[in-house]
């Protein structure tokens, strides 16, 4: 909750102090996604508190809070409400509260259906929140009319908030739904570090290049329009290539060890995984989760192979039992006859066939 408050306040303040792309008609106000997200993720109270106090702190930091207000009405309650913009704080709280209430009934954001449902509550929340603030303005601001508050306050503010929320909330929820925050180790994730660095580089590069390009435009402004377009195109191309190369490298660095692991699992299933392969996998050290998984798999495979081998050794002993007294009896039955005794005497003679050709007349 505190995190939500600080996040919302910080983002609001930042975007208030450093307006991004002003004059386009739509302010970039990513902060609004914070209370909505907190509502969806952690319930109505978290949504409400981060919306209300986040907005308040943000306004204070940005110097929007002026007490006593100008002009004063003389009525203490009205002045306090108006000076501290209490209705706007409450409105922002509602923006977080309504998604929070929705989350009480249903808190899954995996499918497209789930996401669309969440978006609906997001838009409703914003409309209700801003609507509440805009309408209450009439009561506390003497110079405010219904028409004025709708055209100057409700419509633009709702538009900005909805536009920002529609972009950011689904992304946040999508990742949140797949994130296992309970695992204590996720902050130390090597994979996360690598991905963060890669994405930061990918994001920073085009910005830096474009920035450089823009400053050049400012200083040396006597370039033709065609030349300008070519340079801009080249800059974009270079940025794109770098980003693609970066993405490919990161992708390969993740997918290759995973493919190797998959292959190992397939071989293991087929019973063709060798002990040397297992020890190779055990030696993998890439410093991230896949590396750890590979090492674990290698160790497990080695154990399993060893166990199988020892089991096989146990099973593969034939059990040969010969009843020697029975055998002696059976042999005696055959050898005890006169026939056998005579045959035994003659056996060697019968086999003598060395001088066959000369002995046997044909």
């Amino acid at each position: 909750m505190v995190v939500g408050v600080i996040l919302y306040a910080g983002l609001s303040w930042l975007t208030n102090i450093f307006p991004l792309a002003t004059g386009v008609g739509v302010d970039i106000r990513p902060g609004v996604a914070v209370p909505i997200f907190f509502g969806f993720a952690f319930g109505p109270i978290a949504g409400f508190v981060s919306g209300m106090f986040g907005n308040f702190l943000g306004d204070v930091a940005s110097g929007y809070i002026a007490y006593p207000p100008d002009p004063t009405t003389g009525k203490l309650l009205t002045d306090v409400l108006r000076g501290f913009q209490v209705n706007w704080e409450l409105g922002n709280g509602l923006i977080g509260l309504i998604p929070g209430l929705a989350a009480l009934a249903y808190r899954r954001y995996f499918s497209v259906r789930d996401q669309l449902r969440a978006l609906l509550f997001t838009v409703v929340g914003i409309a209700v929140g801003i609507g509440f603030a805009a309408l209450t303005d009439i009561l506390i601001d003497p110079g405010m009319t219904l028409q004025k508050t709708i055209t100057e306050s409700f419509v633009p503010a709702t538009g900005v908030d909805v536009a920002n929320a529609v972009i950011l909330v689904p992304i946040l929820l999508f990742n949140y739904a797949r994130l296992d925050l309970r695992s204590g180790n996720w902050l130390r994730s090597g994979l996360m570090r690598r991905l963060c660095v890669a994405i930061l580089i990918s994001a920073a590069l085009p910005v830096a290049l474009l920035g450089l390009f823009l400053t050049q435009q400012e200083t040396g402004s006597h370039i033709g329009a065609v030349d300008l377009t070519v340079r801009l195109g080249l800059t974009i191309l270079a940025t794109l290539m770098l980003a693609v190369a970066n993405a490919a490298l990161v992708g390969a660095s993740i997918s290759r060890p995973l493919l190797r692991l998959t292959r190992a699992a397939q071989l293991m299933e087929a019973g063709q995984y060798s002990r040397t392969q297992a020890s190779e996998l055990k030696a993998v050290d890439t410093g991230d989760e896949i590396g750890r998984l590979s090492r674990l798999f290698g160790r497990m495979a080695e154990e399993v192979i060893q166990r199988e081998e020892s089991l096989r050794r146990q099973v593969q002993e034939l059990r040969i039992e010969i009843d020697h007294s029975k055998k002696a009896r059976e042999v005696a039955e055959i050898t005890g006859t006169e026939y056998f005794e005579n045959l035994q005497r003659k056996a060697r003679e019968l086999r003598t066939r060395s001088n066959l050709a000369s002995e046997t007349p044909v």
């Binding site: 096989r312 034939l318 026939y339 005579n342 045959l343 056996a347 086999r351 050709a357």
Partner: protein, 294 residues
Amino acid sequence: MESAGEMRQMMPRIASVHSFGGATGTSFTANLVVSIARLGYRVGVIDTGEQSPSIHNYFALDGEATDLVWNDYVWNGYSCNDDRLSGHSGTYQSGDRSDRSVVSHAQRSTGVSLALPIVREGAGEVVVMGRGIYLIPFAVRAGDVSRVLREGHEVDPLKDGIHTLIERLQVDYLLIDTHPGTTEEIVFSIALSDTLVVMLRPDQIEYQATAVTVEIGRRLHVPKILLVVDNLPTGFDSRNVHEQVEHTFNTVVAGILPYSGTITTATGKSIFCRQRPDHPWSREVASIARQIMA
């Protein structure tokens, strides 16, 4: 490899293959015979068993007809003008029923055509004989063997009988496929043999029977006794089994044939070594064949 011609001058060897399972023994013998013949020898094979399929079926021959021919040829001395069988041996195209052309006939004095079932196999030949061929000459009928043995004739009809058989057949090796049991005929065939091959499957009853047969072989002073473990189920380490069986029976294990569904179905009435000579199973049979010949 020595040539078959040179070998023929040497003492022919008799090996009897003793199995407890009937058909599998005959199938194995057929494969063994083919493996030896491929090395360029003339190999005779006698099936003494009563079970079906007999050795003829493996070589796609008509058993009854050929046996009559052989009996007449070997024991009654009927033959064509040339006494040497090899001089006019007919050749059966092996395993091909559609091409069972009889290349040559032995003409009996009565004028009846006789076919000699000799199958060409690689560089060698297989002389196939079935139930009608007796190891004991016609002159000495069953029951008389005991008398002949007891009386100890000056001229030994039994010994002469075998000599006649081998001489007539002109074989380098003679394999006798015996049926399960220890009848007088089987004991006699063991007494004749230079090599006794006992086939056993991993089964308590067969272990016991093997022990008895090996003991009989020893008492009859068979120079070489070999064991073949057949139908070893998967999951056994053949080296362990080899060692264990050799140790238990105090007898050389010539080979271990693993159980294989492919071979079981393939060997229905054909010879697997012929179809798949490079298969591990065929190679194992070839290795057993070499140990019999060694």
